[in-house]
Amino acid sequence: MNPDIARVTDARDAHRAGRLGWPAERLRAKALEIRRDIITMLVQSQSGHTGGPLSVADFGTALFFHELNVDPRDPAWPERDFWHFSIGHVTPVIYSLMAERGYFPRRDLMQFRSFAGHLQGHPSHHDTPGIEVSSGSLGQGLSVCSGVAMAARIDRHPRRVYCVMGDGEQQEGQVWEAAMFAGHRRLDNLCAVIDYNRKQIDGDVEEICGIGPLADKWRAFRWNAIEVDGHDLDAILAAFAAARAHRDAPTVILAHTVMGKGVPFMEDDHRWHGKPPGPAEGERALRELGTTFAEWSARLLGADTDPDVVPAGGGAR
């Protein structure tokens, strides 16, 4: 093995004290809580996107509670991995993951999209601690992540870079500019995850402007492409591990998901892309998820006593 790569690999292991590494079983329980957060936030705000956040919930939980090396109490920790949601509209799941991981108190979720709160409709670096780069205009995130990955290469920094994209977003030309660049530069510290739920606001992705065969496209751009069931946590963890081990090419994980996953009456229906559930629909959705609005909003507004928010290694770091 190239001695440079061996050295970097060692450094990666030594600097990963902020990685939780939860097993799949524990992630499943957390993902259910994330879904409850999402619906509760949306019922409270009566504004925002529902379908995408629910399809992201499982691999998003795996990313935040297994894979990422971060310290939410110190969002600027120099050793941290870089994560970025190029699909800025899935803020309900982004903010829920952040709050559950400890970036800010859970009660803030109840002020999603409100003037008084700090949780903007789309992620804002200026407003929310832990949001590294603002997003909301589709297609731009992979370029940003390629820049971070280039900086890490220049500095010989062991951090990894994770970019979450949408499938409809693949219609944006800039995605392919960035894909071409990162493939050309063999940025193996970069991992993209595509929420492949096959729906966009106006309907089916394949009917509106087909993006398939998507894995072949990415491979043609010199990426390592892995296809997984985006709701199978064991498969997702295996894909993240494979991405970490892969050398000389960036990895894209095509996470095959179902829009609205977890709430049967919302599943696979594009009309849930961009609207929140009304109070009655929200109550119904929360019942499907085993709670009620009263119960779960009280949990969000209560004290953050959950040990989940403390990173692995605790005070050792």
Binding site: H126, V133, S134, S137, Q140, S143, C145, M150, I154, Q174
Partner: protein
């Protein structure tokens, strides 16, 4: 401190983009955070000088300006000070959304070098003559902007941009242009410089039009009119204090820019003085039309961007001032 400029009989000519390129090398020597990106225009933007000296900190992105803007944003998010260079038409218009959402909204420390601004780009024609940059850039919150008037000012502006937190857009031209400042001419980011005193009117200019304004001043002096000449190199943040003082002390303003009349330097100056001390104003600019191919000198003549056009505008504004 006075920055009085006297034009010599024979004026040296150099490219503003060369000032940019040489300043990047100087910055690279003193700060390892400096990284330079380019979109397949290394020689045109003169970042090849940096590339030769610091190949490990030079990123050739290829022909993908939107991607380049995003990569620069990522580098800045990771603590670098990225400068990226392309033609101004692409940096400002093609990548406007990337500048707005990713760079400016996040307030990232990205420096943008927009080369080939203005009608004097010449033979390449309208597509490559960037004349909307000031309007676009100054309408986006957090974005700062400098339009240097010559080689030395471009050099100083580039050095100053690196020290300035947040995103900064620097606009350059293509041609050799008269060198009107010296290596030691004062330059303060955000402050205009009075290059020549006068009490009858003020000519506020940026870019190559500063030279034309100084020439116009000579012609006006022969007619007994004393024009003050202000080099307003920083378009944002705007030196509103200096503009108010000029309006108050001279009572008339002519602006001169190699840019569309809508939303450019003239608009910025008008917005400022209307709020503080309104006086008659005239605008020497490109009058809401696209450019075309031609020699730079004949285009400057045809589009009304010469000293004589400033003199004519001064006549009109003085007439209104006397009423």
């Amino acid at each position: 401190m006075s920055a009085a400029i006297t034009l010599p009989a024979r004026v040296e000519r150099r490219k503003t983009r060369e000032g940019f390129g040489r300043a990047l090398v100087a910055l690279g020597e003193r700060d390892p955070r400096i990284v330079v990106l380019v979109g397949d225009l290394s020689e045109s933007t003169m970042v090849n000088l940096f590339a030769e000296r610091f190949p490990e900190r030079f990123i050739e992105v290829g022909i993908a300006e939107q991607n380049m803007t995003g990569i620069a944003a990522g580098l800045a998010a990771a603590g670098k000070i990225p400068f990226f260079a392309t033609y101004g038409a692409f940096a400002s218009c093609r990548a406007a959304d990337q500048l707005r959402v990713t760079v400016a909204y996040t307030n990232l420390n990205v420096k943008i070098g927009g080369a080939h601004g203005g009608i004097s780009v010449g033979q390449d024609g309208a597509t490559h003559q960037a004349m909307e940059e000031i309007a676009i850039v100054r309408s986006i919150p957090n974005l700062q902007m400098v339009v240097p008037c010559d080689y030395w000012e471009a050099y100083r502006a580039t050095i100053a941009a690196a020290a300035r937190p947040g995103p900064v857009y620097i606009r350059f031209g293509r041609e050799d242009v008269p060198v009107v400042t010296a290596e030691d001419t004062p330059f303060t980011f955000g402050r205009g410089e009075v290059f020549a005193e006068g009490h009858d009117l003020t000519v506020v200019a940026c870019g190559v039009m500063v030279y034309e304004a100084l020439r116009a001043r000579e012609a006006l002096l022969e007619r007994g009119v004393a024009a003050r000449v202000v080099d307003l190199h920083t378009l944002k943040p705007l030196d509103t204090g200096l503009l108010e003082r000029c309006a108050r002390e001279t009572g008339a303003i002519v602006t001169a820019e190699e840019h569309q009349v809508n939303g450019g330097l003239g608009g910025a100056v008008a917005e400022a003085i209307v709020r503080s001390h309104p006086v008659p104003m005239e605008f020497v600019a490109v009058m809401d039309r696209f450019g075309r191919s031609g020699r730079p000198d004949e285009l400057m003549d045809a589009f009304g961007l010469r000293a004589k056009d400033i003199v004519a505008a001064a006549g009109r504004v003085l007439e209104r001032k006397r009423r």
